[in-house]
Amino acid sequence: NPYGGLVSHLRASWLSGKTRPMEYRVAQLEALGRFLDDKKQEILEATELDMGKPSFEAFFSEILLCKNELNVTLNNLCHWMKDEHVDKNLVMQLDSAFIRKDPYGVVLIIAPWNYPIHLFLVPLIGAIAAGNCAIIKPSEISKNTERLIAETLGCYLDSDCFAVVTGGVPETTRLLENKFDYIFFTGSPSVGRIVMTAAAKHLTPLTLELGGKNPCYVSDTCDVTNVARRVAWGRFFNAGQTCIAPDYLLCTIEMQEKLMPALRQAITEFFGPNPQESPDFGRIVSDKQFQRLRALLGSGRVAIGGQTDEAERYIAPTVLADVLPSDPAMQEEIFGPILPIVVIANMDEAIDFINARPRPLALYAFSCDSKIVNQVLERTSSGGFCGNDTLMHVTLTSLPFGGIGNSGLGKYHGKFTFDTFSHHRGCLHRNMGLETLNTPRYPPYTQQKLGLLTSTFEVKRRGTCTLL
């Protein structure tokens, strides 16, 4: 077991109790903040090398959003750590009943390559805030960022309690043989199954942030220009390699016609006449992903874009029109700068289309008519939902971020990350006196005792006569 020693070492640190005091957690979190500040340039460079991530995007997702999470956590940690007192019943009035937030112990965070800093750092913030030790396993596919994390994170965090493990599938498989007290995984549903199966052997609880095809419904009544901008922004951010990107569009044939020039306009506004020359448009992370995406271009017909450059792993911001449900682009999560449009007759058809498919991580609906937006929301199911925009619901730290069904289980961001990495322990601290109050519960059992017990333990429906 190549990682047994490392896990034991972290477990020993955990048992020593050093990660529990608030001061320690704050110190480690502040160190993470310094990591983001000191290594900002290196992070921008590494992510550019990995997938041509534009500096603007990298700053926004890898630095700014992470610092927000850090600050929300630091501002509220004291409050989150406090015992939550709960309502008591009649016999417990003199007792103390509360929920204690206990750390789990040694947790494992497995991050993917598309937002390689954000997707390990934001979970890590919660793991540290909750008092755990952690092993971080960044993705080997974003290898420059992986190297940066492996070489520099240790300079900021306590290496007795936090470690980085690098490697690919074989290494991750060996790592998962060890017992962890919590596993946080972001990646594909198929690997999610493998992680959960491995976790089951040790009865390890987990959070899986997976993916799927995020539908984007555009109704006939909408401001086409703004819709096009917001959809294009969400689709082409990070060259489409975003788990919550609008994966495909559903609209009527008339709307498809209206949208096309608007989308073309938005793309030109964003990236200029030749997006390959724009510093604001990313590249595909690997040759394998590039080939996979290029093969999808045969779906429907290329209405915008479609150009590719293998040497640069460049795929132009592309919109495919008249895509059929049976086309390759509709069989898998696209995860690239390609937006298929599937034509439907009306909103009901769109909703049926969505509901016939696995539940997505995100769902989008655009309409000037709020009733339509609400209809789509109410008649579908998804991890999260954003009306009249894309991606933005995950930037509010007060909203939980997570999937449902194939798109995942569990949630995080803000306090939800802290809660994810805490065991909520029900605690009751009773008085040793007042023993007579307990008599009705002891044998020998009698109807009279039962009557007493019932009246003290019962929850009465409001509207009935009660002594309370």
């Binding site: 603007f56 909203l399 019932t454």
Partner: protein, 453 residues
Amino acid sequence: MERMQQIVGRARAAFKSGRSRPLEFRIQQLKALERMVQEKEKEILAALKADLNKCGPNAYSHEILGVLRELDLAMEKLPSWAAPQPVKKNLLTMRDEAYIGYEPLGVVLVIGAWNYPFVLVMQPLIGAIAAGNAVVVKPSEVSENTARLVAELLPQYLDKELYPVVTGGVPETTELLTQRFDHVLYTGNSTVGRTVMAAAAKHLTPVTLELGGKSPCYIDKDCDLAVACRRITWGKYMNCGQTCIAPDYILCDPSIQSKVVENIKATLKEFYGEDVKSSPDYERIINQRHFRRVKSLLEGQKIAHGGETDEASCFIAPTILTDVSPESKVMEEEIFGPVLPIVTVRSVEEAIEFINSREKPLALYVFSNNKQLIRRVIAETSSGGMTANDVLMHSVLPDLPFGGVGHSGMGAYHGKHSFETFSHRRACLIKDLRWEAVNKLRYPPGSLEMLHL
């Protein structure tokens, strides 16, 4: 295979029809459950007596009262539990609607256990119905009378397609677990817990596992021993020790060990009289297999009290073992029987170390007059839940989450926690299609200066 597929398929079609979602429907079903419990009280008590030799008042207070209370709470609170929760917005979302919506998961599976066979299917069922789901109920076949009764009664009171009951043993449960569910709540042991989670992993189904373990009970020298021992006796021997949160073993200083034994003996006499076997309030071991298992734990032990057994009636007397070695068999597995080992430790540090060197238990108990000591035990150990200066009682407060950690389980339920377990919390952000100027800040071509605004 087909039968399971059909049952789950029907439940799924029924869920898709949308009828389990309106609050009125959910409350109507909960009300029907309440009627069922009130009208069929006699039958339920009879089944519990047949399965576990649980007597009337005991069965009523442990299984029926708890269910009625949970039903009342759910019906009372459902509108507020199910209401969308607005969240704090930031500058960019000031004009928008941002909230968390509570939605049903779909078709959930509830697998019950045999020790509290009625309440352990009913309580999860109540939460699942309240959350708007379809629910497949699989009571434990080991408590066969209650299983049969649940299978008979539920279809008489509830929507038959939405809330089917599946009976059977291991083969049937294995088959059931190959189907896709949107959540599985399992109560039972860790071994089967692993199997349930592995089966759920194939479908990426979230699980709540209510397992078990050895719940330690530390008695400090500084405490009212008579009161402590009475409370411990009550919790330990209730249901013949077959309670997942029963104090499994005692840790105490050697100097008080014999006093502890004396006090427990005295309490046992108070509770069950001179001849325990003839007390109507003392239960039996569920079956011969468990009888033999528990009996074998007595081998080689110093029996300070009890030890009498009768295989024919699955009777094991309330038993206390003293000076038990941590390496002995009785200290290896969860006892789940009326056998109470006492392991001596010389300090609270030793007790904490002892507890931490073992798997995290479902419950933890500490008795002391010293508040600091209690706080220390809580802070330096981990367990599903805990009660200080009493046993079992933390499971009675619906606002406290009831669940395990580590080997004792994952997830929690009871009260509002059941509702949340069986709901999907969906993040919703509804923006306006106007006010595009604000969005321009984030669109390319981007300059880093703009971001610092």
